[in-house]
Symmetry: D2
Subunit: 283 residues, 4 copies
C-alpha cells in the first residue's frame, strides 16, 4: 500500500497548497491513502467542519487533529458523526470522536490509522504508548479476518523528539509507520527501524516557512523578545511548502518497504520520491 502523510496544514495558504498539489501527488506517486493533520487549518487555530469537508473533497482520506483539536467549537458535533476525522486516542474516555479508524482503500485493503498525542512539554493526558498499543491490539497487522489490517499508520502529535523516537521503537514491528507532527518543521531522519516500521520524527507543516512555525513573524518574535501583549497571531500568507512523508508497505506483512519525504513549493528545498514502477500501482 502507498500512503502519504501530510503535516499540520496551517491556514489558507497551507490548505490551498495541499488542495492544489494533491491530485498530482496521488497520480504521480500512485497513492492509495492520504492522511493529513488539520489542527491548524482554520486560520491557524483548529479546524472547522467546512474546511474539513474541503480537505476530504480535495483528496484527503483521513484528517487528524492534535492539541488544537477544539479551537473551533463547531468541530465537536461534527467529529461525533464523522469517523474519518480523528482526535488523539489518549484523550479521556468520553471525549467526542474517535482516535482511530479502520478504512478500506480502493482495492479493498484495510488500513488502521491511529493518532496519539505526546505528553512531554505538552498538556497532561493519559499514556499515548498504552493508547497506541490498545488500538493496534484491536486491529493488528496480519490478524484474523475482520480484525486484521494490511497496514497501520500511527500519527504521533508531540513536541519532544525523544518521546516520538521512543514511541517509534516501542511500536517497531507492530505497525507500518510512525510519523510525527506538531513542531511544524520537517525532520530529515526518515528511516525504516530494525523491526520494519517506517519512522520520521516530524512531517513538518504545510504552510509558509517565512514565519514562526507558520504564523506571521513580527508579533511572534516580539513575544519572545519582550514580555508584552502583541496583536493576535495569524497565519503567514506567503506561498506554502507542502510537507509530507510517503511510505510504501508490504501488504502481506504490513512492514514498510520505503519511506521518503515530500516537500514541494514555498521556501524549502524541494524533494520528491521517484515514481513507483507501474506494477506497484495496480493489478
Amino acid at each position: 500500500m502507498r500512503l502519504l502523510y501530510l503535516g499540520d496544514i496551517v491556514g489558507r495558504t497551507g490548505r490551498d497548497a495541499v488542495i492544489d498539489t494533491l491530485p498530482g501527488l496521488r497520480r504521480d506517486l500512485a497513492l492509495d491513502v492520504v492522511v493529513a493533520c488539520g489542527e491548524n487549518a482554520a486560520h491557524g487555530f483548529g479546524l472547522s467542519p467546512k474546511i474539513c469537508d474541503e480537505l476530504f473533497e480535495g483528496g484527503v482520506d483521513v484528517v487528524t487533529l492534535g492539541n488544537h483539536s477544539w479551537d473551533q467549537r463547531d468541530i465537536i458535533p461534527y467529529i461525533a458523526r464523522e469517523p474519518r476525522l480523528l482526535r488523539p486516542a489518549n484523550y479521556p474516555p468520553g471525549t467526542p470522536g474517535q482516535g482511530a479508524i479502520v478504512m478500506t482503500d480502493a482495492r479493498g485493503r484495510r488500513l488502521l490509522v491511529v493518532q496519539v498525542m505526546g505528553r512531554l512539554y505538552m498538556d497532561p493526558l493519559d499514556d499515548p504508548f498504552a493508547a497506541a498499543r490498545r488500538e493496534i491490539e484491536a486491529n493488528p497487522l496480519a490478524g484474523p479476518p475482520g480484525r486484521g489490517v494490511s497496514a497501520i499508520l500511527v500519527d504521533v502529535h508531540a513536541e519532544a523528539t525523544s518521546e516520538k523516537m521512543a514511541l517509534g521503537h516501542y511500536l517497531d514491528g507492530r505497525v507500518s509507520a510512525v510519523v510525527g507532527g506538531h513542531t511544524h518543521v520537517p525532520t530529515a531522519d526518515a528511516q525504516i527501524l530494525p523491526g520494519g516500521t517506517a519512522y520520521q520524527t516530524d512531517a513538518g507543516m504545510c504552510g509558509d516557512y517565512d514565519s514562526v512555525i507558520g504564523m506571521v513573524k513580527e508579533p511572534a518574535v516580539e513575544r519572545f523578545a519582550r514580555k508584552m501583549p502583541t496583536e493576535r497571531l495569524s497565519p503567514a500568507g506567503g506561498p506554502a511548502t507542502v510537507c509530507g512523508i510517503v511510505i510504501e508497505t508490504d501488504d502481506a506483512t504490513g512492514r514498510a518497504i520505503t519511506i521518503a519525504p515530500v516537500r514541494l513549493g514555498g521556501r524549502l528545498a524541494a524533494t520528491m520520491p521517484a515514481a513507483p514502477a507501474p506494477a506497484a500501482s495496480g493489478i
Copy 2:
C-alpha cells in the same frame, strides 16, 4: 567564508565518525571553519578536557556546549582558560568561560561565533535574544576595523522550533547564520531568510540514529512506557551519522550565499552539498 556546523556529538560513535570524516569534509567542501557542539561527547553527558582536545586536534575550530555543559566537572577549569570552547552566552554573569569568540581563519578573516540557549521547555536562563544581540553589537558584521567581522554564526541550543525560528528572524540580516542544536534530530528546513541570514532549525546529532536521541533505546523507551527506574542511559554504539550544515557567506557583506545540510554514514539517507568551484577555496 565556508563554514560547517556539526550538531551534538553523542558518545564515542559520534566522536569517531566526526574525527574520521572531518579531514575529507574540510578538503572536499573547502571549509574555512568548523564549529561543533560537544555537550554529549563524553558518554552522552557533557564534555571532558581530553575529548575536547581530541575534537580540536581532529579539525574542529570551535566547540560549543549546551544544557549538558557541566556534566563533567573538570571541564569547568578547562573552559576558564580555553576560549575556543563556548558555553551559552546567556548563562548568569560570573559563569566560567565565554559565550562568544572572534576567531581568525587561515586567510585572516574574522568570524564571530556565539552560542545562546533557549528557554522554552528548558531551564530558566536570561534572555537569549538580548544576549545574542549584545554579542553581535560588540562585533558586528561589516563593522569598523578591529570590531567588525566577516561572518557571524549563532548556535541556538533550544528545544522549541518556535523559539529558534523567532531568533532566526530576530537576527535576520545581522548575522550570517543561525543554526540550531539540542533536539538530536536534523531538520529539513534549511533556507536563507529574507534578510540574508542562513537558517536551519536543528543540525541533528552526530550519533547512532537506532536509538532514542542517541541513547540506547530499550531503557529510554521503558522510561516513557512505565514510571519505574531503569538502568542508566548510555549512548547507543552503532554506526553514527555525521549531521551538519554547510554555509557559504559573502565576505564583503557577511550575508549567506548558500546553506545546505550534510549527512554521512549510519542509518540516515546521505546528503552532501556539491563541491565548490575551485576559485571559491582560494586565491
Copy 3:
C-alpha cells in the same frame, strides 16, 4: 473517626520528630488512624524498607509515597508485599504496589486511603481525577456491606494549588477528606467544602524549615542564583516541625465534622486542635 495526615517526612530530623511526637498526638487527639507521606524520609530521597518499618512501628498506619517513590530501589520488592505502603494510584497498570488500601481501625471501622499524583508541572501520568474516582467507586462511603467504608481519605501529591483545589471539589461529598502534599509548605486554607469533604491544599513537610523545602539551603540557593553544579542536596538537620492535618468524620455518613492543622516543634508557629470531648474517643 479521627484521622491524622502527616505531610512529607524529610530526612532523619523529620523521622525523629514524627516518631517522638506521635504517641502523644495519638493519645491527646484520640486518633484512630495516622497516615503519613514518606517519600523523602530516606535522606530526602525516597523511602527504604527499614525506615518504612520504623514508621509503622512508630504508630503510622499507612505510608504514602509520591514523585520520589522509587528513589530507593529496595522499596520496590517491599511495596509488592506490604499493602500499608501506597504509591500513587495513577501510575501505569502493572506498577508494583497499590494506590489504595481499605484498612480497619481498632474499633472495626473501615477506612479507604487513596493516593493520587497531580500532573500540572509534574511528570506525565494518567488522570488522577479518574483514578481517584475509580478507587472510591470500588469502596464507596456508606456503600453495601463488604464494599462500603466509614471514611475515605484522599492524599493528592501535587504541585499546583489549582489542581488540588479542583480535585477537592471534584470529590466533594464523595470522600471524607482531600489532603495535599509535595510542596513541603503547609497551607492555611483548611476548610470543609460545601458537600462535606474536609480539604487542605498542603499539609506541609515534617522537616527543618530553616532550609529550602527541607534541604540544606546554601547549595539549594546557589542552584537558583547560578547555573553551575553544586554539592548534592541533603536534608537540613535542624529541629523539625511536625506538620499535619487532623480530621474528624461522622461514621454514619463519612462526611467531615472538623478539620484543623497541627504544627509542633521547630521554627514554625505551633498550633494544635483542641482535644476532643472524652466521649469522642470511645465506648
Copy 4:
C-alpha cells in the same frame, strides 16, 4: 515600621472585602504601609486603571502585578506614569513601568518595595535573584542618606515553594521581608529567618475560597477532568477572605521584629495578630 502585604485580590468580591476591611486594619494594627497584589482584581484577569485608583483610594499604598500584568491593556499607559504601581523588576529592559519604588511613610521613613517574578513552572524571564539584588543595592537598608532605606519589602510572585524559599534565604539579612504571592493559597510558614528577614511563602488570595484559586469551580474542575473547552473562567462571587501578612520592622536596622498572618472573612479560619502596644504606633 508596620507593614501589611495583601495577596492577590481576585475580582469584585476580593476588592470589596479589601476596601471594606482596610480602614479597620490600618487602625487596629497601626499600619504604616499597605502593599497589595492587584494582578487579578479586574474580573480575575489583570488590573484596570479605574480599579487601581480605587485600591489607592481605599488605603493601599503600593499595588503590585505579576504574570497577569498586561491582561488589561489600558494598564500599560497608566503604569508608565504611576510609580506606585509595580510590575516584576525582572521583566526585560524597556518594559513599561517600574519594578521597585522608594516611598516615604507618614512619619518620613523610607521604604523600598520590590516585586520580582519566579521562573520555575512559569514563563521565561531574566533572573529574579539578580534583579532583587540590583534593586536592594541601589537602595540598601541602613545605607547612606538619600539612598538608604528603613525597610525593604520584596514581593516574590512565583509558583514553586523552593524558588521562594531560596530567594528568602538569598536575601536574608539584606531585606526586612520576603513575601510570596501567585498560588492564591495562604501558607502557614511565617517565620523570621536567621539573618532577620521575615518570610512567608505565600500570602494567599483575597477572594472566595469556595472556588478553584478564586475562579468559579465547575468549569475549572471540568478543565482538569476532561480535555474539552469550557465556558470562560470568571471569579467566584461568594464572600472573600482577606489574606495578608503583617510585618513589624526595626527602623534602626531594617530587620523584622515580628511576622504574622491576617485572615478575615469568608470561609477560612480567621486569624489576627495582637494589636501593637500604643507606643508602637507613634511618637
